[in-house]
Amino acid sequence: MDEAVSIRLSVSDFIALTNQTLEYAYPSIEVEGEVASFKVNQGKFVFFDLKDATGSVGCFMTLWQLRTPIEDGMKIVVTASPKLTAWGKFSLTVRTLRPSGEGSLKKSFELLRAKLEKEGLFAEERKRPLPTLPQHVAVISSTQAAGYADFIKIVNDRWGGVQIDVAHVQVQGADAPDQMIRALRYFNSQENLPNVIVIVRGGGSADDLGAFNDELLVREIATSRVPTLVGVGHEVDVSLADMAADVRAATPSNAAQLLVPDRQEYIRVVQRQVRALLPRIEATMERYRQDTVMRLETMFEKLSRRLGEQREKVVMLRRVLLELDPNKVLARGYALTRGEIVAGNVIEIEKKDILIKAEVRNVSKK
């Protein structure tokens, strides 16, 4: 009679063997379920149950690994390793988790938004303007993504002469936030800092864009030394990364438009600026001309007035002279005598119409 081969182990060895077997069989698994009994102990350790209609499994993780806020009732997917604890309790040691389904994604987004908003991460007064003419730009994106290609094409169409350093990273999936964080730290630690850091990614599902709602990434963007411009998804998509950025672009194409001016428009503005100078010169010349004409007119008026005054003076003097004319006195019947009035002398007497030679017979006082 065969007897089943049994292994006798100590409890500790049994637990170790079980964990070895589990680790071999399930090095990493994803489990989807609903969160229940969520709690944080000592401000460091996170415990919750993951359940569905018929089952429930305990989960453990550290608080720093929890980068997406969760609460009871939310549906999530955990990436974890199964483990038997020293007390014989089976649980999942969670490395990462993400909300699953539209409702949970939205709930998680709202929870984190409220938390970060309270800390002032999205405050308008924190926002810095982008440089008008950037000369050195850092771009964080996947170089294979359509959004990146759109961005680069439009930047090249619009402007030139810019040094563009690109960090090729994943822009979706569990590793994406950490890769983008490393790229942000890389550019922020350069001796020759870029003028602006741009993060772009094209459209996708809410799950695809979930990386841009990662708490650590959002905090990294908010504390970047270099001003940030984030353009993720389509116009309707709003991520927390967008909200933490100094400038939010609706799409990668829009990010390119906000980053650099359009060269054709720039040329038009420059030409307009120069053209506007000529009328200013002409206006000044016209002002000078009018001023000169006005001065001449004033001079002419003054001269005319003086001439008039002199003319009146001459007329008046003429009138006086006319009054003194001796012919006028003769005309009134008076006579003019010439010669010495001495008895015996012949004198000349002039009347209005005649001249008389007369001898003086006698001279006496009146």
């Binding site: 003419l133 000369q135 050195h136 170089t143 680069i152 930047v155 090249n156 402007w159 030139g160 002469g161 810019v162 040094q163 563009i164 350093d165 690109v166 960090a167 090729h168 990273v169 994943q170 590793d175 950490d178 890769q179 983008m180 490393r182 790229a183 890389y186 060269r263 720039y266 040329i267 420059v270 030409q271 600026q273 120069v274 506007a276 100078l277 000529l278 200013r280 010169i281 000044t284 010349m285 000078y288």
Partner: protein
Amino acid sequence: MSAKNSVSIAEKTAQLDALVAWFDSDEFELEKALDMFTKAEKLAAEIEQDLATMKNNIEVVKVRFSENK
């Protein structure tokens, strides 16, 4: 054209702005205006020429961000 040209575009734009501002300032003199206008016209032509020819320099940095260092 290299990225250095962008510096000169920024500088030329600043120079042009200064020239335009001179026309509105108290320093404006009709005798100098034509000379200043000629300078502004020349700068504008240079900016236009630079903008028509310059290209961006794109470099993918040789760092693997998938690895935690």
